[in-house]
């Protein structure tokens, strides 16, 4: 590790730690009103309590399960269709207008409709996550194929690759880096959407936890919910990074 890298890592740890320390100090000095902004140590204490009662792990697991299921359900078809749209001009011409129109709709605005179709149970939560990442992953997959140098397709055809072989040996592996970009962005969206959805119509999950804490003025528990969401986001990003390095050994680092 070079000196520059060491300094970068140090900064990455020092800056959030610094914020926490400043926050704690300001709370202890009374500069921050504990009724509105509890100290980090208070939040951690509440978090420990909620973990011991099993309440926090339960809500985390519920949310994680919704995100993972929705993610798989949304990303799978999105990648397949994205590859197809990248490879075939007619398919692209036919579907791109629809996709472009549907993409910018805030997915949380579709949630009432999804509840109407799928009910208040798990299906609507998984559904909203799937819908919210679908277009993002679809568009990054398609642009991943379109960004591939035509030379790759030329080599494949010159060596007798049929349509299926072109799909499997050029489009899919070539678009994978962009697919991962889409998945990582999508993971952020999935968390935003699931917590939002749980605020609105749910009796479990991190969003519900935050909403219920608001109703009983448990400000520290609300912060616990936010903290947990942030940590989940970080863990998910790290997991996808790890997977990306495993799956794409061919990329120059």
């Amino acid at each position: 590790m070079t000196g520059g890298q060491r300094r970068d890592r140090l900064l990455a740890v020092a800056s959030p730690a610094g914020v926490l320390v400043a926050w704690e100090v300001l709370s202890r000095l009374g500069a921050l009103d504990a009724r509105f902004v509890p100290a980090p140590t208070t939040i951690l204490h509440t978090m420990a309590l909620m973990t011991r009662t099993g309440e926090l792990p339960y809500h985390i697991l519920v949310s994680v399960r919704r995100v993972v299921l929705g993610f798989l359900l949304g990303a799978g078809p999105a990648v397949g269709l994205g590859l197809l749209m990248g490879l075939s001009r007619p398919v692209r011409s036919a579907l791109l207008p629809i996709v472009s129109a549907a993409y910018p709709i805030p997915k949380i605005a579709v949630y009432p409709l999804i509840i109407f179709y799928l009910g208040l149970g798990e299906a609507s939560k998984v559904g909203i996550v799937a819908v919210s990442i679908f277009f993002l992953v679809l568009l990054s997959t398609m642009s991943g194929v379109l960004a591939l140098d035509p030379a790759y397709f030329k080599i494949a055809r010159a060596y007798g690759a049929d349509a299926r072989a072109v799909f499997a040996t050029v489009a899919w592996p070539g678009a994978l880096p962009q697919i991962f970009t889409g998945l990582k962005l999508g993971m952020g969206f999935a968390l935003i959407v699931i917590v939002g959805a749980e605020l609105l119509g749910s009796t479990s999950g991190i969003g519900y936890l935050i909403w219920r804490s608001y109703q009983i003025f448990a400000v520290d528990a609300m912060f616990v919910g936010l903290l947990v969401t942030a940590v989940l986001g970080w863990v998910a990003a790290a997991a996808l990074d790890w997977l990306e390095h495993r799956v794409l050994p061919w990329r120059a680092s």
Partner: protein, 265 residues
């Protein structure tokens, strides 16, 4: 239309009245116009011409990547375990997501060979281009010259009747280029392969080929067909110091410059 019937006599490859036009904004743009020639089995034939003379189009037609507007291409019939044509492209020659081994094996997919035979061919060709220690390396770990060697190994592994090369050394630095020319001559001699080699380097054509076809600027026509007089094997030093070398490349240049529009590039 391309047909795959053995050409008559000793010819491995015959092109007859080949024309091709690309669709353009103001009507079709002619790239090739009535190109005819044939190449003997085992002959190394270079094609030179100014930029945009359709020499790459010609190669793509020979490779079956483009169906020509008019004319015929006659190639040997397909025999088991080998491709009729194999191409080495300019610039990008490898898939970055495949190792050297996978890249070289790529052309064998369609041949239906047993796994052991595929493996034998891949390792043999990789060793021949000096990359035996890099079988499992990815292209980003290799130099440009090594990537181009991988592309050449892929072509030879398919044991093609005709080897098509589209400015394969065009993006290499001078020294790497000379080294790869040597290696290609080494691989070709004794292989009996028929080669069509597109280049815009007069030196490269003079050094490698038995025969040089000169093409005119768009639309491309064959304007001269010149035998290369230098004996083989052709070391760089011997060819360059041959008293006839200067006169020969000067003649190529005259043919190029005289072929329709002056060769601007």
């Amino acid at each position: 239309m391309s047909t795959r019937v053995a050409p008559p006599g000793l010819a491995c490859l015959a092109v007859n009245g080949l024309s091709h036009a690309y669709p353009g904004a103001r009507g079709p743009v002619a790239a090739l116009d009535g190109v005819s020639f044939s190449v003997r089995t085992g002959q190394f034939c270079a094609v030179i011409g100014p930029s945009g003379c359709g020499k790459t189009t010609l190669l793509h037609v020979l490779a079956g990547l483009i169906a020509p507007t008019r004319g015929t291409v006659t190639l040997p019939p397909r025999s088991p375990g080998r491709l009729v044509t194999a191409v080495v492209f300019q610039g990008i020659s490898t898939f970055p997501w495949m190792t050297v081994r996978q890249n070289v094996a790529y052309g064998l997919r369609a041949l239906g060979l047993p796994a052991a035979e595929r493996r034998r061919r891949v390792e043999q060709q990789v060793a021949r281009v000096g990359l035996a220690d890099f079988l499992d390396a990815y292209p980003h770990q290799l130099s440009e010259g090594m990537r181009q060697r991988t592309g050449i190994a892929r072509a030879f592994a398919t044991d093609p009747d005709v080897l098509l090369m589209d400015e394969p050394f065009g993006s290499l630095d001078e020294q790497t280029r000379l080294r790869l020319q040597d290696e290609l001559l080494g691989l070709w001699q004794g292989s009996g392969k028929t080669v069509v080699f597109v280049t815009h380097s007069l030196d490269e054509a003079a050094r490698l080929a038995d025969r040089v076809l000169v093409m005119s600027a768009r639309p491309g026509r064959v304007t001269a067909d010149i035998a290369v007089p230098f004996p083989r094997p052709r070391g760089y030093g011997e060819v360059r110091s041959d008293p006839a070398y200067g006169a020969f490349t000067a003649r190529l240049w005259t043919e190029l410059a005289g072929s329709g529009r002056p060769a601007a590039t």
